[in-house]
Amino acid sequence: MPWYVEALRAVVGTIVIFSAVAVVAAMFGVLLERKVSGWIQSRIGPTHVGPRGLLQTLADTIKLLQKEHVVPGNADPAIFASAVVIVPLAALLDYVVVPFGTTRWGPLVFRDLNIGVLYFAATSSLIVVGILMAGWGSNNKYALLGGLRSAAQMVSYEIPIGLVLITVALLAGSLSTVTIVTVQSHLWFIASQPVSFLIFLAAATAEVNRAPFDLVEAESELVAGYFSEYTGMRFALFQLGEYGEMFAMAALAVTLFLGGWHGPVLPSVVWFLIKLYALIFVFMWVRWTFPRFRIDQLLNFSWKFLIPLALLNLVVTAFFVMVVRR
């Protein structure tokens, strides 16, 4: 195809993905969080705005758009401003390799990169730099401390995620997400790799700074952590980054373990969404059920439990793949 058609496809695809994530993950996800938390706490969530409260986040977004832009006095303007762009952008870059379904022209993915899961791990690691910039650029003790702790936490949990990705790549024989899904057409990897699935869920929860690993954002601890000084729309963009990353991790879990888009009767995209929202519900359920970990418990959990477990899982899987079932 001529280059301008390719460029147009890329731009349209980007706009579609960004808008979809912004609406589905950030807006709908926040609303879902409030509703689910309400049900778990024996109350109804927001119900006033729109039918059954569905337009609540839209109203919130409009409100946030007209908030004043307040920059703290000694904040570093360049770093303060660029952190706001880096965090959501890195979270949204994850979606390039997520296969949403399959059509008769091929898999429905923005681009099936050869190094699919490695690309996902790489863009997830860029978020840490954005968080450090946000924490430092605010010129606020709490923000800086929150940023440092958040960075230490995210960095500690990237290794179990990497090891789990390697284990799945081992079984599938490729790093491409589409290949990983296609290989699962008969048996989902959750059946052959339950331990990996649990490790991934735990590590993903910690990676996105969600409860029970949300010490760095807990209001009672550090105000709002690294984004304390960000007002209005900037705050909304950080939330977009966080919820976008959570949805991306859930989407990756669906791709790696729950068979992606495979399912009997309904169209593939619908199955993907059903599985995605099932995992999102589990994430939210866990959030409102467990108490918060302390920072040292959190880090010990990763380094002293998850990593040895993931390594052991990898060796056992490799044994079965390489020695037993050749």
Binding site: G13, T14, N139, N140, V155
Partner: protein, 118 residues
């Protein structure tokens, strides 16, 4: 293959533009008033005491250090994972040696307290 990455580059550029879009809207919509107290940083409602930076503990550095070493180990495992199925049992033992040496590193870090937060 380069086409794939051209798509990713366009995604990043258009994405950066879309993420910055709200700021244009804010510039049009939001009120603006500035007085000195607004520029103070937040410290639970009181005047901020001291500088925003204090001597942080070396443990942050140790965690990121151990992270980098283990992340390099993980990237060595990626190429192996892709071809593992087609290699023989001898490759399995090679990888086990690799992982054991690095697990020794983890044990060393554990015993020496590099993984302690206290």
């Amino acid at each position: 293959m380069l086409l794939d990455w051209a798509y990713v580059a366009i995604f990043a550029i258009v994405g950066a533009g879309m993420v910055s879009l709200p700021f244009a809207i804010i510039a049009l919509l939001s009120p603006r008033s500035s007085y000195p107290h607004k520029r103070e940083t937040y410290e639970s409602g009181m005047q901020p005491i001291g500088q925003a930076w204090a001597q942080f503990n070396v443990r942050y550095y140790l965690f990121s250090l151990v992270f980098v070493v283990f992340e390099v180990e993980v990237i060595y495992l990626y190429p192996w994972a892709v071809v593992a199925r087609s290699l023989g049992p001898s490759a399995f033992y090679s990888i086990v040696i690799f992982l054991v040496i690095l697990t020794l590193g983890l044990v060393y870090a554990w015993r020496k307290g590099a993984l302690e937060w206290a």
